[in-house]
């Protein structure tokens, strides 16, 4: 679970006349992750692609352009049996057909755009009672035609030597040249904008009708072509998709020799195979052909340069979807621990704390499971993996909502134990909705125990980060013992800080800090340093143990990692405090839903309860639905992002390098690569 699938380095050597057969065999086996041979390495050249490569890739290019014309992205492939006969011939004739249609389609589209422009130009002129030639050819007159935002009627103030024609929003003014510039200025000040006068002669209304008729004609043509393309798509989509997959396979096989090393008479393939299946592969290849398969010695991890095998993670099915989120950050290298297990616990727990509501959690569990059922046959992509993560998160949100925070849909199970609160604040499931006392009482009320919530977050920070440092110790131990000791130093510093923080938080009776300080941390000797100005009074001094841990930790860290890392102690403190976002998001969301609930309750639902106002009930329920939907979406987004962030930034940076390559055996193609 914490280690990837063990890999064996295999070297396959064979005579060159068996090259093609070997490629076919390896492709069918789908077991070998080929390590590309580099030109000239160890005095060996790379192979040349098989002859069929260039022809296959040429057809493939044509096929891809066809696929983009027909928009085939999500078409289902036809059965392979449809690929008989001369593939090249079929595709070339299809290309002839389709590219002709495509060219006419594009020409008509540009023609239509042209017509649209002309129609737009002509439309305003059709409103005015003049023919197009009337606007042109005057020696003594200037013509202004354009849009007027409002009626302009005091043209007389400029000159009397003019004639004007108006339509709603439009104005055409004919004015003597002598007064033209004054008129232009006058019009411009009133928001008048000039329109270009279209070319041609005749009445704009008639011309417009002609243009529109022409447009209708071309649109009909365009539709015809569109229909023909649709028919072509329906008829050939399956064939084209299947042919594309087939050709891509051909090309991949034909180009495989580029990844091999060759001599005059032999070829060598270097690659990684899962150790468990290596003997089987070796047996099959050697039995069926004249190949020699041998296991290569691999330099151990601490030797430089370490040879990094590709990584295939192996985790139990329920947490496998979390591998996606690990790969998103970086695939673990072969020699480090796979953090998926911790991630698959930490992500949903943090999501659960931030959402912290039985209602929303339950909705995610039900909705997520329903989605997964619906997507049963879909391949495991981003959204499907994420949905599994949300189902886990929803589960934890329900647990925290029920047992820790005691609330569902933003409404608490019981009224908070505070006097003098408003009716809306006291509204709760037990008294007001179910009229049955729910036997679950909140351990922590979000709105009234913010400090406790922050303390809870810091405790989770300690747990999470110390696991991170422990992983770091294990990772470094086999690689570089010095750095492993450095990580132990960090773990001590973290523990010292945590003890000091909890000591400070545990000063008041009845708080969560008090419970942790006297419960979980009850073993810490109480004698210590009094630092009243920092709040560490004589009753709660900083324990010498914590100081010792900090001191030893810093010394270990300085000795192994260097002086400059002293700054990172503050960075670590910042990392710990950063987990307070668990409380921050939790409280913020609770505050928003509480505010919305209060508004809806006092405006709509209390009137219904008090006086049977049905309108209030209907509106109230609608608004309650909207508010909860909003919060559901909001808490999911922020819960997921913040939880991913805590894992990526605070947790992973403590130990995780994520510099590995994924295991991709020759012959196994993912959808993304197609």
């Amino acid at each position: 679970m914490l280690r990837p699938v063990p890999m064996t380095r295999a070297l396959i050597v064979g005579p060159r006349d068996e090259l093609e057969a070997t490629i076919e065999r390896l492709y069918d086996l789908k077991l070998l992750h080929i390590v590309d041979h580099k030109e000239g390495e160890e005095g060996l050249e790379i192979g040349k692609p098989l002859l069929k490569a260039s022809e296959a890739s040429e057809i493939l290019v044509k096929l891809r352009s066809l696929a983009s014309v027909l928009q085939l992205e999500d078409a289902e492939p036809a059965a392979e049996t449809g690929l008989t006969g001369d593939l090249r011939q079929k595709i070339l004739s299809l290309e002839l057909n389709i590219s002709e249609e495509d060219t006419s389609k594009k020409k008509i589209q540009s023609l239509l755009a042209d017509l649209d422009r002309k129609i737009e130009e002509m439309t305003p002129f059709a409103e005015l009672p003049l023919a197009l030639q009337d606007y042109r050819g005057y020696e003594r007159l200037e013509v202004f035609v354009g849009k007027a935002p409002r009626d302009i009627d005091d043209l007389d103030t400029v000159t009397t030597e003019y004639e004007a024609f108006a339509a709603p929003g439009l104005l055409a003014v004919f004015v003597v040249k002598a007064a033209a510039s004054a008129m232009r200025e006058f019009l411009a000040q009133r928001g008048f904008t000039n329109l270009p006068i279209p070319a041609g002669e005749g009445r704009p209304g008639d011309l417009l009708a002609d243009l529109r008729a022409e447009k209708v004609r071309w649109e009909a043509r365009s539709k015809e072509i569109e229909e023909r393309l649709t028919t072509l798509r329906e008829r050939y989509a399956g064939f084209l998709v299947a042919a594309r997959a087939h050709l891509e396979t051909q090309v991949e096989k034909a180009e495989a020799p580029l990844r091999f090393a060759v001599t005059d008479h032999t070829f060598l393939v270097d690659g990684w195979v899962p150790t468990a299946v290596f003997p089987e592969m070796k047996g099959r290849l050697e039995r069926e052909s004249h190949l020699l398969v041998s296991e290569l010695e691999v330099a151990a991890a601490h030797e430089e340069p370490a040879v990094e095998p590709p990584v295939e993670l192996r985790n139990p099915r329920p947490i496998r979807p979390f591998e996606m989120l690990i790969h998103m950050f970086g695939t673990p290298s072969y020699h480090e621990l796979d953090p998926t297990l911790v991630f698959s616990l930490a992500f949903p727990v943090m999501f659960g704390i931030m959402v912290g509501d039985l209602g929303y959690g339950a909705v995610w569990v039900v909705y997520g499971l329903w989605l997964l059922r619906r997507w049963k046959d879909k391949p495991w992509g981003f959204w499907k993996n994420l949905t599994v993560a949300f189902v886990w998160g929803g589960l934890w949100a329900s647990v925290f909502g029920a047992f820790v925070f005691g609330e569902a849909f933003g409404i608490p199970f019981h009224a908070p134990d505070i006097v003098g609160i408003s009716r809306a604040e006291a509204f709760n499931w037990s008294d007001d909705i179910l009229h049955v006392s729910i036997p679950l009482f909140p351990f922590l009320e979000k709105l009234h125990q913010v400090t406790d919530f922050i303390v809870l977050s810091l405790a989770i920070a300690y747990l999470h980060l110390s696991v991170g440092f422990a992983f770091g110790v294990v990772n470094e131990a086999r690689h570089n013992p010095k750095h492993a000791i450095g990580k132990v130093g960090w773990l001590l510093i973290l523990t010292g800080l945590f003890i000091a923080i909890m000591d400070r938080a545990g000063r008041w009776h009845g708080t969560l800090g008090y419970a942790i300080w006297n419960g979980l941390l009850g073993w810490v000797p109480r004698t210590g340093l009094v630092q009243a100005s920092f709040g560490f009074s004589a009753a709660n001094p900083i324990p010498y143990l914590a100081l010792a841990m900090l001191g030893v930790g810093v010394v270990l860290m300085l000795a192994t990692e260097g002086f400059l890392h002293i700054m990172e102690v503050f960075g670590l403190l910042a990392n710990v405090v950063s987990y307070a976002r668990l409380a921050g998001i939790g409280v913020a969301e609770e505050t928003v839903i509480f505010a919305l609930n209060s508004l809806i309750l006092t405006s709509f639902l209390f009137p219904w309860i008090d006086s049977g106002n049905v309108v209030g009930l209907v509106l109230g329920l609608v608004f309650v639905g909207l508010a909860n939907f909003l919060l559901f979406v909001l808490s999911t987004i922020s819960g997921a992002i913040q939880s991913v962030r805590l894992n990526y930034v605070e947790f992973f940076l403590k130990f995780y390098k994520g510099s590995g390559t994924r295991f991709r055996p020759f012959g196994l193609r993912t959808k993304a690569e197609v």
């Binding site: 913010v450 400090t451 922050i454 910042a574 405090v577 950063s578 913040q642 962030r645």
Partner: protein
């Protein structure tokens, strides 16, 4: 720290200023990252998952503000 009667208002002001300042700082930082991220996503939509956590990195600043504000209001 003991707050004498009549000075609770100042403590509340201090808490408010902390959240205000850190909130603005976060917004400012996220503005640049957000714009750059949208640009990156427009070029390569598959970066969405990687970019999302980057955008929220400066949110730590306002979390610090929140913690300080609550420490001011409740404990000191």
């Amino acid at each position: 720290m003991v707050v004498s009667a009549g000075q609770e208002g100042l403590v509340a002001m201090a808490a408010a200023l902390t959240v205000l300042g850190t909130g603005i700082a976060t917004a400012w930082a996220e503005k640049g990252i957000g714009a750059a991220s949208v640009g990156a996503i427009a070029e390569k939509p598959e970066l969405f998952g990687r970019v999302l956590p980057l955008v929220v990195i400066p949110e730590t600043i306002v979390i610090f503000g929140l913690v300080i504000a609550f420490s001011l209001l409740s404990n000191l």
